[in-house]
């Protein structure tokens, strides 16, 4: 029987609170380290010769950031352009985590804690921005279409982060489990080539697709609670 549990390396105790150093936390730090190193590298490279007419590496980075900013502004409108920065971080982190299965790391998103944390951040963004932009309209949106729908609307407000988290988690854990089962099913020599197809499908295709879907769904849930500008 293959074991798909998340390994725990060490348990620290800080002021009577147990802190578990698990595989998820290790892999999250590896991915964050890669991203931070890349950011520092890009910053140093820009610092040396920043030019108004970008070319090469700088051009690529600027095009990527600009493309994503335009994409977010296209959904949210100019007033909430700053959401682009947060969601760029989210999409890059989820995308890289999902791909990390290809490098034989266990993706951090294959742990319900990671996806639930991201989804709860979305939950606070939805309701925080809803209250901030139009408080009365926000309260009234719970009574739509009429007041008897209040409990249903409350349940759906709580169900939103849960469904976001489980969608991402379910897809990634399905990839981890199926790939792991196939690896254990075959003789060692055969695993060198064949499961590559599974990695391409589950890690690359489904992983990037679900990073995109998590971002777009979060943005559209946020936009539901905010009055649209004309």
């Amino acid at each position: 029987m293959v074991n798909f549990d998340i390994r725990t390396y060490r348990v620290f105790e800080v002021f009577g609170i147990e802190i578990w150093f698990t595989e998820t936390i290790r892999n999250t730090w590896i991915i964050m380290g890669v991203l931070i190193l890349f950011a520092i590298f890009a910053r140093i490279k820009f610092f040396k010769n920043v030019s108004d007419v970008p070319s090469g590496f700088q051009n690529g980075i600027e095009a990527l950031v600009e493309m994503f900013d335009n994409f977010v502004v296209g959904i949210t409108g100019k007033r909430y352009h700053y959401l682009g920065k947060w969601f760029f971080g989210v999409i890059v982190f989820i995308g890289i985590s999902n791909i990390s299965g290809m490098f034989l790391l266990r993706p951090p998103t294959a742990d319900i804690s990671t996806t639930l944390a991201l989804a709860i951040a979305t939950f606070f963004l939805i309701h925080g921005l809803g209250v901030k932009s139009a408080p009365l309209k926000y309260l009234k949106s719970f009574l739509e279409p009429f007041f008897l729908f209040l409990p249903i609307n409350l349940v759906s407000a709580i169900a939103t982060p849960i469904s976001l988290a489980f969608r991402l988690f379910g897809n990634v854990i399905a990839g981890v489990v199926i790939t792991g089962l196939v690896y254990n099913l075959m003789p060692y020599i055969a695993t060198l080539a064949w499961p590559g197809f599974l990695h391409v499908y589950f890690d690359l295709f489904a992983g990037l697709l679900h990073a995109y879907i998590f971002t777009v769904l979060s943005l559209s849930f946020i936009m539901d609670k905010i009055p649209q500008e004309n």
Partner: protein, 101 residues
């Protein structure tokens, strides 16, 4: 005591078997989203054929709709994984049995 042990082993075996069957049935939840996504993809193909310049919009709408429709299937999958790898009912049974020992 001998009789009790046999009974416990039988109950444990029944719970394990029921868990395996339930894990299989839970994945049947994937049938609905499969049919629904098939319809959605067909309509998207029709729309793209009628209006090829709107391909990008159609594709992103299809992906979001597909992801939303997929949620119930994913819930079934998660329930099935829980039954297979966490096995809550069998653990409850084991805890209950150990109180008699």
């Amino acid at each position: 005591m001998e009789e009790l042990n046999v009974q416990m082993i039988q109950s444990g075996a029944i719970i394990l078997a029921a868990q395996a069957i339930a894990a299989g049935i839970a994945v049947l939840a994937a049938a609905g989203p499969g049919i629904g996504q098939g319809y959605a993809a067909g309509k998207a193909a029709e729309a793209a054929a009628r209006q090829p310049e709107a391909r990008g919009d159609i594709l992103s709408t299809l992906l979001i709709g597909g992801a939303l429709a997929e949620t119930s299937g994913i819930y079934g999958l998660v329930v099935s994984f829980l039954l297979m790898f966490v096995s809550p009912f069998f653990n409850t049974f084991v805890n209950w049995v150990t109180t008699f020992m």
